[in-house]
Amino acid sequence: MSTVVRPDSLEGALAALAAGGRPRAGGLEPAGAAPVVDLTGIAGLHGTARSGDGGTRVGALTTVAALARLDGYPALSLTAGALATPQVRGTATVGGNLLQRSRCAYLGHPAFPAAHTPGRDCPSREGDHLHGVVFDTGGCASPHPSSLAVALLAHDAEVEAAGPDGTRTFPLAELYGTGDPLGDHLLSPDEVLTAVLLPAPVPGERAAHRRAAGRARAEWPLVEAVVRLLPGPGGTVGRAAVAAGSVARVPLRLPEVEEALAGAALDTGPGPRVAAALEAVAARTSPLPGTRYKAELLRATLLDTVERALRH
């Protein structure tokens, strides 16, 4: 049976991970031989703090519930508050959410031991992939499950990670790249995600978030959208940030929709430019046989989200 190592410093944690330990943020790890490295004793991973440039440093062990209450970042708060259940939000951490494992039903299923094996086609491609990607890039056909990643991408957040070679900071998009064929992120096993760095809040920001799903609550989205509208002159949109989740191996920014929204009038419905951009997004999807509906659902979800942000 494995043991639990409880380092009280980042250095101690990195050493334990370098020795083959398995990091644990809050949840139960499956039984295994390697020691579990409990990260919760490291003070630097907790809490949120304003940084010198007015931005916010969110420690990796900050709970989802705390993000839902964070001031100044409405898109992030809305997304965090809609995720999972109250009990899970109270325990789950931002680091755990960003690095979570794929939800592919074939992964870990006893009848599919070869699922997620390098060089093997994912069995869901010929099988059941109703919840799969609609922007297919080959390899695994499951979308990335992190909702926070969608919102953080729309916030131009950065990620801070510590490893044997020190601490590095990089845009959140680089945590996922263009989608590893099998993996869930590009962090190396001897690194620890230590914090998420948010730029300074933008006064007057309008934000909306939507999960298209069957059940009203506690449901994984079929499509998820986050829209941020930053004010421009004379009641218009200055800059827009639009991101979508549950559609690709990685959360996606949608530049054509952002461009169409720039300069759009607030407090009105989305005009023909936005409609055309949404059509363009739908047109560049590359669905699997079972996910064609997601092209239309993505367009519809974005339309709903843009409309609510504009009329906020």
Binding site: L28, V88, A105, A216, K294
Partner: protein, 865 residues
């Protein structure tokens, strides 16, 4: 390492693989905390950690160190929300209840601190309790309980006892379920299951010769689906048992498999059951044994029932040939629905001195003891089956299931008690399901708009099992117009079905009741008015008239709807058989100067304890209830809880026992009156001198009833049918494809209601399960191997608090005066037409007729595009 649990210091283990829930339950004996899903979805394991609700099944036990934990036991039973749950009957089986009340206690306290004593709305309550699932569907009671607790209505103990006699045990976590029973020294058993859809098993070997291993293969040593039990092993701890199961070596000789109905029907497809013997041995998911039928490859049937069948077929063919617009011929499909009771299948078996004790989660305590005695060749009185509380069943817990077989045989090998408890993945894979169906229905109206002919052909998709009765159920609806119904089964290499709450009923109604709705459109007639003309059942006719007068029906929108959100109202009718158990017995005994009701029936959450207590008290004119002890096979024979039979069997037996007790007491003291209320003081006096006095009541015959058949399965078919009419209102989001049921009216005709609140709760729960069936629930599988993929409660979607309509239940209590007690069961009839009413409401709202269940967003946006 130490934690504070309910105020006391306790040790916590330093092993990372032990969950907090497992430590609380198995380590500390705090079994009020339940584990149902094991993945943080259902909330049954919710505890407070430093005052915040947490899913203890996901929390490592060692993370409790230095923290303060409150479990349901720590709430003490005095929290206003516990009283409110009991008073508003916000529970049925009670398995989810501890988690609900722990979470709700924090919400109620926080709400009142912020808002004072004002009740929150349904949306706020649904938000707060979004992390909880109740499979029985007691959400109406939970909404009103939480609102009332927030409003300060339960700061003091209410004057009246809760409507459900075991409610207090359930809201405090004191109620003991079979999953909570593990005597010291109990070993854990784990089932080894097939990872291939079709194979002959050459050999099965445990890694270690000392590991007890029992073989669970059928006689032909062949597995026919992924997940089929092969063997089971046991070890002193759960961790070691899981490791031993993983180390079992199975040598598979692989055979070709068919996992889809379409491929199973193709010429030359591999046969699931190839020989006459195999076909005869195919498991059945019918309530009764399936009559013999012919096989054609993987297709069994048809089982045909007709009434002037040739006339029906001739008329329908002629109408089709001439393009008659009053011919409605349509095809409908349904998906596999899983019972998924929150208490899994679980059995703790213990051999001792030639006897066998079982704690089992079963719907049939007496029946199981009979079958166990027969199978293991024991005298019936050496077998004891105990199921004090049962955490839901819905048809899946009848008979000797895999957990029971494995636990009994492993206990004998291990020489110790052995517990076998299904994981949620096992529960969602191989614990039964309501099979998917494809049903073609044809209705023809004549020039007067009367029903001229009906045909229904249905194909059941029950994996390796057979027994579809979907079409047959349609035979009993809408008078005596000529008709032909045919049931087929298509077998595949997928897990077998089991009877589920009104087997065949919901898929029949999904097809037939939408076809009737379509006919009403063609005839330009109100759908309730059409049914009133076609339906000869007087009880249901009374319900149509009542339904037509509801505000929901009269205020429904008319004409085409426009805009993104469209509202509509639909109606559907339900029909069910009246069955009962002739062998029902109830003992009434004087113990400690009190009356005690004792019988071996079981309460799955239906409220039979309450029915028994109330019936005896009513019959003797006592002011309070009577103590009830059930769930132990040592008592007199109790009816099995399937076929809506428990109340109409046990209720009359309890009344008979009360009458016999009155006569016996009257013999001792003539002040006990021949009829009418027994004076409290007289009763007390006579009971104090009658210690040990015992009478046994039985199920007296119906007036004009048939003689009781002496069937081994204790099945009596009574005269008359129960009925129901549902009205459902929905709002359809045409942009995002979401259907939101907003209001429901459920009219139920099952005769006199024994216990109003528990009966209403069951009918409200039937609406919740019907909404799940209509909108979310769908077992999904891999199309090549048939492996079940929706094997957790994230991927198998049960409705939550925020997904269900505000529901009003109305009881029409006439029509069963020939039955002793005047009432029959309602568990099934209340479930039949819910999804169909929802389908008709979607059509009313959008003009799009849904054909395939469930109504997922992708289907809705595709359909109404």
């Amino acid at each position: 390492m130490e934690a504070h649990v309910n105020g006391s210091p306790v040790p916590v283990p330093d092993s990372p693989a032990t969950s907090a829930a497992a430590h609380l339950r198995d380590g500390l004996g705090l079994t009020g905390t339940k584990v149902a899903c094991g993945t943080g979805v259902c909330g049954a394991c919710t505890v407070l950690v430093d005052g915040s609700p947490a899913a203890s099944c996901l929390l490592p036990a060692d993370r409790l160190a230095g923290r303060s934990v409150t479990t349901v036991e720590g709430l003490g039973g005095e929290h206003p929300v516990q009283r409110a749950f009991a008073a508003h009957d916000g529970l049925q089986c009670g398995y989810c209840t501890p988690g609900f009340v722990v979470e709700a206690s924090v919400f109620v306290d926080g709400w009142r601190a912020e808002h004072g004593d004002t009740p929150p709305g349904r949306e706020e309550i649904a938000d707060a309790l979004a992390g909880h699932l109740c499979r029985c569907g007691a959400y109406e009671g939970i909404f009103s309980a939480v609102a009332a607790a927030c409003a300060g209505e339960f700061d003091t103990l209410p004057d009246r006892d809760p409507p459900r006699v075991d409610a207090v045990d359930k809201v405090t976590g004191r109620a003991r379920y079979s999953a909570d029973q593990a005597p010291p020294g109990t070993w854990e058993g784990v089932v080894v299951r097939s990872v291939h859809p079709h194979a002959r098993i050459r050999s099965v070997r445990a890694a270690d010769a000392d590991t007890p291993l029992v073989d669970l293969l059928p006689a032909d040593r062949t597995v026919r689906y992924v997940g089929q039990p092969i063997a089971a092993v046991a070890a002193p701890t759960p961790g070691r048992a899981r490791a031993a199961a993983e180390a079992v070596a199975v040598d598979y000789d692989l055979r070709p498999a068919v996992a889809e109905v379409a491929t199973a029907r193709a010429p030359g497809a591999p046969l699931v059951h190839a020989t006459t013997d195999e076909r005869a041995g195919a498991p059945s998911y019918g309530e009764a044994p399936s009559p013999p039928a012919r096989w054609d490859g993987n297709v069994r049937g048809p089982g045909t029932v007709t009434w002037r069948g040739p006339t029906a077929v001739r008329r329908l063919r002629a109408a089709a040939a001439s393009g008659n617009p009053l011919l409605v011929a349509q095809e409908y499909t349904t998906a596999a629905q899983l019972h998924s009771p929150l208490e899994p299948h679980v059995c703790v078996a213990h051999w001792h001195g030639g006897g066998l004790d079982l704690f089992a989660s079963t719907q049939s305590v007496s029946g199981l003891a009979d079958r166990v005695a027969e199978r293991w060749e024991l005298d019936r009185d050496r077998v004891r089956v105990v199921a004090e509380h049962v955490g839901g069943a819905f048809g899946a817990k009848n008979g000797i299931s895999t957990d029971i077989r494995a636990a009994v045989d492993l206990s004998r090998l291990a020489g110790a008690p052995v517990r076998v408890s299904f994981t949620r993945a096992e529960e969602l894979t191989d614990a039964g399901h309501r099979p998917g169906t494809r049903t073609r229905v044809a209705l023809l109206a004549d020039g007067d708009g009367d029903l001229a002919a009906m045909s229904v052909d249905s194909y059941g998709d029950g994996g390796v099992s057979v027994g579809s009765t979907t079409a047959t159920m349609a035979l009993l609806m809408y008078g005596r117009a000529p008709r032909r119904v045919r049931d087929y089964d298509v077998v595949t290499h997928r897990p077998p079905g089991m009877p589920m709450r009104a087997p065949g009923g919901p898929p029949m109604a999904w097809a037939l009741e939408q076809a009737v709705d379509e006919m009403a459109c063609r005839l330009g007639e109100d759908p309730l008015a059409l049914r009133l003309r076609w339906d000869g059942n007087p009880k249901r006719r009374a319900l149509y008239e009542r339904a037509a007068r509801t505000a929901l029906w009269r205020g429904r929108p008319r004409g085409p709807r426009t805009g993104r959100f469209r509202r509509g109202v639909g109606a559907a009718a339900s029909n069910w058989l009246y069955l009962f158990g002739p062998r029902a017995r109830v003992e009434l005994v004087v113990e400690g100067g009190e009356l005690v009701v004792r019988t071996a029936t079981q309460d799955l959450g239906t409220g039979i304890r309450t029915v028994l207590s109330g019936t005896v008290a009513d019959r003797l004119g006592l002011p309070g209830g009577v103590r009830v002890e059930i769930g132990d096979s040592g008592a007199v024979f109790g009816t099995g809880s399937y076929g809506s039979r428990t109340t109409p069997s046990m209720g009359p037996a309890a009344a008979d026992a009360a009458d016999r007790m009155r006569a016996a007491l009257r013999g001792r003291d003539p002040r006990v009156p021949e009829r009418g209320p027994v004076d409290e003081h007289v009763l007390k006096e006579v009971l104090s001198t009658s210690e040990g006095l015992s009478v046994v009541g039985g199920r007296v015959r119906d007036r004009w009833g048939p003689p009781f058949p002496d069937t081994p399965d204790d099945l009596g078919v009574g005269r008359g049918m129960s009925g129901a009419v549902h009205l459902m209102e929905v709002e359809v989001d045409t942009l995002l494809g979401r259907v939101r049921p907003t209001r429901c009216w459920a009219g139920i005709a099952a005769g006199r209601i024994y216990s109003e609140r528990t009966a209403r709760n069951q009918c409200e729960g039937a609406v919740v399960q019907g909404v799940g069936y209509a909108l979310f629930e769908e077992r999904r599988h891999d199309p090549r191997t048939g492996a079940v993929l929706s094997d957790d409660l994230e991927d198998y979607r049960l409705p939550g608090m925020g997904d269900v309509p505000e529901t009003e239940v109305y009881f029409h209590q006439e029509g069963f005066e020939h039955v002793p007690g005047g009432g029959v069961g309602l568990g099934e009839v209340s479930a039949v037409g819910v999804a169909a009413a929802l389908g008709n409401a979607v059509f009313d709202a959008t003009g799009w007729r849904p054909r395939d269940l469930p109504l997922r967003p992708d289907r809705v946006i595709e359909g109404i595009r």
